[in-house]
Symmetry: C2
Subunit: 205 residues, 2 copies
Amino acid sequence: MILCDIGNTSVDLFMDGKRTKLSVADFNPVTLQDDVYYVSVNASLNERICDLMNWHDLRAFIDWDKYYSTMGIDRIMVCEAVDEGVIVDAGSAITVDLMQDGLYQGGFIALGLRAAQEAYSRLSPALNVSFNFEVDLTIMAKNTPDALTVGFLAPLIEKIERLGKPIFLTGGDAHLLSRFLPEAVVREDLIFQGMNKLIEKGVKC
Amino acid sequence: MILCDIGNTSVDLFMDGKRTKLSVADFNPVTLQDDVYYVSVNASLNERICDLMNWHDLRAFIDWDKYYSTMGIDRIMVCEAVDEGVIVDAGSAITVDLMQDGLYQGGFIALGLRAAQEAYSRLSPALNVSFNFEVDLTIMAKNTPDALTVGFLAPLIEKIERLGKPIFLTGGDAHLLSRFLPEAVVREDLIFQGMNKLIEKGVKC
């Protein structure tokens, strides 16, 4: 059994306990013979997949009463991995979701680190600086890189902490954010853990 | 005496207790005969002003030991207006600065509301939605507009409140933010109050 997370630019595969990442351009779904359970936000790859008998869309496994209909499928998958806690997926956006007794409590979407830095640089040449990830977020800043970093990260990190639940970090910037959330558990494969749990629950007809 | 705040696209004048806003393109500094005390971030207008005898750059009045050298001049001016409190200037960026006993304690810079919305829309077509300013920021969101609004505003608003000081709101989005900070005082002319206080203190040679 293969798990597959298809994004707009990359394809993440999980097989035999190992994770592989490919670019969408390099990926041909026909090359996989095993049963593949997948999620996908990629419309053009979806067209090539829909006729393949061994590919199973995990959307059919979701209990949609638990989530809202326009919620991103990748957010749902990471939520499925956690019964109790805050799930922070730090990717192109930073999504924060709350699970309690296996039920979805809602969440929010912040900009990802790169998107935020780019937005600052568009505001003014004076703000075209890199974030300082060594900064102390508890201290008000007295230089520009710190002011941007504190301005973007301090409110977000403190908000996540004040939700008062175990924190699970995933996504490309998980390790970076873990510097500021030392109590958090980093689970790079959280989406695949969620996909596995969902498969065990079975198809919702 | 006229006070003048020159930005990149607009010129804000304060004379006879009244505020007037002009576009930079429509503004000719030579037309003002009175003494003009100004701040400016506009390099090209600065060239036209530097030879005018009645124009006085307020940079000369600033005690730079109080602030950091790369700090925006408009931030310094609004800080000068407040001895004790948090100054939130909600413009193209949202700057947050802390004053205590008339001394600057540091601050941070968040994206402005428009810059944040544009950044979300660049991330994904699914996030190309308007913020919902009726949202309850204390509740985790279960739809996309709320998720973005809560994601951007809740951490920021809560951070500002937790600084635990009187809050002074200014800038173009001051009234909008005041919905979420009902205890804050809105002072649209805060920059001119700061400029006046600085002028009373006199030039720092």
